[in-house]
Amino acid sequence: MYHVVIPKIGAATAWRTAARGFLAAQVPPHEICWQEPGAAPELFARTQAPPPTGDIKVSRRFVAMANSVVWHRDRDRFARLYGFLWRLRDAPHLTGDHGDSRLARLRRMEKNVHRCQHKMKAFVRFREIGDPEAPRRSFAAWFEPTHHTVEPTASFFARRFGDMDWRIITPDKTAICVDGVVSFSAGQPRPDLPEDAHEDLWIAYFENIFNPARLKVSAMCSEMPKKYWKNLPEAVAIPNLVKTAPERAEKMARAAPTLPPLRAERMKERLAQGNATDGTLPSQSSALRQRK
């Protein structure tokens, strides 16, 4: 019996190296115990995987799938992957077989990881932690992903935020990008990030882009599940928006049409005369003054 511990950081490479070694040494799946760090080691187990020897040809589709599945939360992910890889030796066409139940399971896991990565790209919210005037500004975010998706998704943030430093802290792992170089360290508890004035503006935007006449709470929740809300600043506005929407929509419908403002006639006349080009700004500022 072999006993392999796949580390948290660099799991994809570690699993691939180990799996290549086992495959080259013809070790069947039931003789390997794949473990995450921290699990109790098994007695009498050989902890050394055989070194990978020679070239192993595996379809590109499987490699792509494995590179996602290794980040799944499922504790048996490494064993499942190796089990399928073992079957591929005699049946290489299996990777394209959508009817195979074990592949279907792996595909589902792959999809879960992709979705989690996608949601991470969408829902991470940075706060500024450095001087906004500094040549490289710095930002930090606290995020709680469903799967171990920080590592495979960090490169996306590096490609996107090339001219700033950032860190994404999760309970499981921390990604830090300084001067364009990404590194990973252990997870941390939720940090106290400084208040960010732009969050207030963002919430104001969120509240006002919402159309109360089209309330569809379930559509929102299916795309932005509630488990993410606690780390989304804009989510604090949701309960009140939902509560007041029917009343606001009804009020719009009930309101009697109003008389057009005075400037409307003037502007229409000017437009009709075709000299709309010479500054209508005075009438705009007077409209502003009326309201104040």
């Binding site: 394209g96 077989d97 959508h98 009817g99 139940s101 996608h118 969408a122 940075f126 500024e128 930002f139 975010a141 996306f156 490609r159 996107r160 935020f161 090339g162 001219d163 700033m164 364009g180 732009h198 207030d200 503006l201 963002w202 104001a204 935007y205 969120f206 006002n208 882009i209 919402f210 159309n211 006449a213 089209r214 569809k216 709470v217 559509a219 929102m220 795309e223 932005m224 804009e234 928006l241 719009m252 419908a253 309101a255 049409p257 109003t258 403002p261 409307a264 502007m267 229409k268 000017r270 437009l271 010479d278 209508t280 700004l281 705009q284 500022s285 409209a287 502003l288 003054r289 104040k292």
Partner: protein, 411 residues
């Protein structure tokens, strides 16, 4: 006069922008900022950063530069005769908001639209100035969508197309008569002329020079438009006919359908209704069938008598129910074109069926795993271990899918 805060302006100018349905941030040129000299990336697929309780995604900072407008379009919240509060952003304010929202990962980019102030050229020039500042001074590589003003000068449209990922011009209403009635200052011909102009510029940007060099790409994410549904009396047949022509003539990426929605301070000319959301949904489904499933316009619209889509069942199912002689189809043998017509099978499902049946005989539980909506597909297919028997032709098949009849309310 006290100065309006940026927050107050943002409230007014996002409130004024929400009736534009587009939120796409996908399909543009691939780029990133790994070189450290800029901000932003675009990787093909769009990202929805948040969802509002109306179920719509928030991908872009969607704002108006100003909601002052000299036009008087009855359906529009910003028409000159409306009493909504007015505001105007400065170039700096829009640039600052975009960059700071982007850095916090709130948005994919900017969707900038505007009321018409002073003149169309002056308005368009201001919008182009904002895009230029973002691209040149801030080295912003995120997504920019500019709503172009139909009668703005061609040089401005030309520059806008080089700075923005997407340009759009709204046709506003499905028929020319409706535009004339409800948007008296707008001209349908001019709107179409502007769309044709964008198409020609985009086509011209594909041609290589004699040295084989490509000119800079013009609006790489294409152009789109929007139609308001339910404000005038146009039928779905008219609406879909118009969009088919728009897709064909101007190579549009998308036609958005926007259910006419109540607005604050509405016009007496256009009484408010509850927004026809289900109709909007059916139109999008029909639009997809036309573009990705090989359906012809009259196939979709011929299933109903009054020229409107069936609200109770989706248009593909409605078509299948009217053409039962073609069903059930054998998933192990049927050509791809026919599989695409099976209710419950999407483009992806069909692709998987075709690739899987090469090395195994497809059974019913295979199809479940492949991901077809089998409850819907059941009556229309034959697979290993499944035959619908008399179900396909049964008289009550429609009732299986349509929601139960509702008692009319008295109010």
């Amino acid at each position: 006069m006290t100065r309006m805060t940026v927050k107050r302006k943002l409230e007014i100018l996002s409130d004024a922008a929400k009736y534009d349905a587009s939120c796409a941030s996908s399909g543009s040129s691939k780029r990133d900022s790994r070189d450290g000299n800029g901000l932003g990336s675009n990787e093909g697929s769009g990202i929805c950063h948040a969802y509002a309780p109306d179920g719509r995604c928030i991908s872009l900072l969607k704002i108006l530069m100003t909601n002052f407008c000299v036009y008087d379009c009855s359906y529009c919240v910003n028409r000159v005769s409306s009493n909504v509060p007015r505001a105007r952003f400065t170039v700096d304010e829009v640039v600052d908001l975009t960059i700071n929202f982007y850095r916090r990962n709130y948005i994919e980019g900017l969707f900038l639209s505007s009321g018409i102030i002073r003149s169309p050229d002056a308005t368009m020039a201001d919008m182009v100035r904002i895009a230029r500042r973002l691209r040149r001074k801030e080295s912003f590589r995120g997504y920019i969508h500019l709503k172009t003003i139909p009668d703005a000068a061609p040089e401005l449209i030309a520059e806008a197309g080089l700075l923005a990922d997407r340009l759009s011009i709204n046709v506003e209403l499905p028929t020319d008569a409706a535009v004339e009635a409800y948007a008296p200052e707008k001209s349908p011909e001019q709107i179409r002329g502007a769309m044709a102009d964008v198409r020609h510029r985009k086509d011209a940007a594909q041609d290589r020079s004699h040295r084989g060099r490509r000119p800079p790409r013009f609006a790489p994410a294409g152009q789109s438009t929007q139609m308001i549904i339910g404000a005038d009396g146009a039928t779905d047949k008219t609406i879909l006919g118009r969009s088919t022509r728009l897709y064909g003539d101007y190579k549009l990426k998308r036609v958005y359908y926007s259910a006419f929605s109540p607005i604050p301070d509405s016009s007496a000319k256009l009484p408010l209704i509850s927004p026809p959301l289900q109709r909007e949904h059916r139109l999008y489904q029909a639009d997809w069938l036309l573009r990705f499933y090989g359906f012809e316009l009259d196939e979709i619209t011929s299933t109903t008598r009054d020229g409107n889509l069936d609200l109770a069942v989706d248009p593909k199912l409605a078509w299948a129910l009217e053409h039962r002689a073609l069903f059930p189809v054998d998933v192990n043998k049927a050509p791809k074109e026919l599989l695409l017509r099976v209710p419950g099978f999407g483009v992806k499902t069909v692709k998987r069926i075709v690739s899987t049946r090469r090395h195994c005989y497809l059974r019913y539980d295979h199809l479940l795993r492949i991901g077809g909506a089998m409850k819907k597909a059941q009556p229309f297919i034959v697979a290993g271990g499944w035959s619908p028997g008399s179900l396909t032709d049964s008289a009550c098949l429609r009732a299986r899918f349509a929601p139960p009849p509702e008692q009319l309310t008295l109010f």
